[in-house]
Amino acid sequence: MSTEVTTTGKTPTSAPETTRGARVYRPFTDIVETPEGVNLIVEMPGVSAEDVDVTLENRVLTIRGTVKPTALENFELAHSEYGEGDFERAFTMSEDFDAGKIRAEVHNGVLNIALPRAAAAKPRKIAVKAA
């Protein structure tokens, strides 16, 4: 069976606004819970690893990606289906994440963030003994 990619197109955010009037988009995000913690898969085409900014402050995880606009010399835009702009999105997390252990990497315009849960918050399995 072949499934096709379905998309709703990029969604611009209403807030925050930029001072330059450039658009800010809300990146599509997949959130997955694993035994170690939470993984976020954030789609940010056109953003390289050095242009990503991830912060966790007061339970709010903020993801920012800066896009260098495509400027093709001697070319003019004839048909446009997508806009270009920075990406920004924030999530409120629970308190049990270890900010020092967050790992983030960018590959093919997709940001992968792994947030391990603090050791104390990991569920401990209690062995039940047969009496």
Binding site: T3, T7, D30, E33, T34, N39, T70, F75, L77, G109
Partner: protein, 141 residues
């Protein structure tokens, strides 16, 4: 009574324009954008196509040209996760995609160049010599 199509009273041609938009392009279901979205750029001796395809590996992209149609197809794989993982939120799609773009000239395979950087695909298609405008000399009579 407000006509459903005619909402902008300042623009008497709004209905006509919206009808024209419906006819423009091969989009089957209006409102559902096709993947990947493309931007087409025009230059003096080439046409450039850019498309956002985040999360697609280079090896999974296929670009082919036949006559004047350039086709971008491929597959976006589902993220690799352990079996114990549970989804909280799912906004990204996965699966196969295909997009055909008709250009106003016959594509010469040797003049197509494609690059993938940070999930953005850039294709440059050179216009064939025969298609370039020729300067016509005017003789003084």
């Amino acid at each position: 009574m407000l006509h459903p199509f005619y909402t902008d009273r300042r623009d008497p041609f709004a209905l006509l324009h919206s009808m024209m938009r419906d006819f423009d392009g091969p989009r089957m279901a209006p409102g559902q954008p096709s993947f990947p979205a493309v931007n087409v750029w025009q230059g003096d001796d080439a046409v450039a196509i850019t498309a956002e395809i985040p999360g697609v590996e280079l090896s999974e992209i296929d670009i082919s040209a036949k006559d004047n149609v350039l086709t971008i197809s491929g597959e976006r794989k589902e993220p690799q996760l352990p079996d114990t993982a549970t989804w909280h939120r799912r906004e990204r799609g996965a699966g196969r995609f295909s997009r055909a773009i008709r250009l106003p000239f016959k594509i010469d395979d040797s003049k197509v160049e494609a690059r993938l950087a940070n999930g953005v695909l850039r294709i440059a298609v050179g216009r064939p010599e025969a298609d370039l405008p020729r300067k016509i000399e005017i003789k003084a009579a």
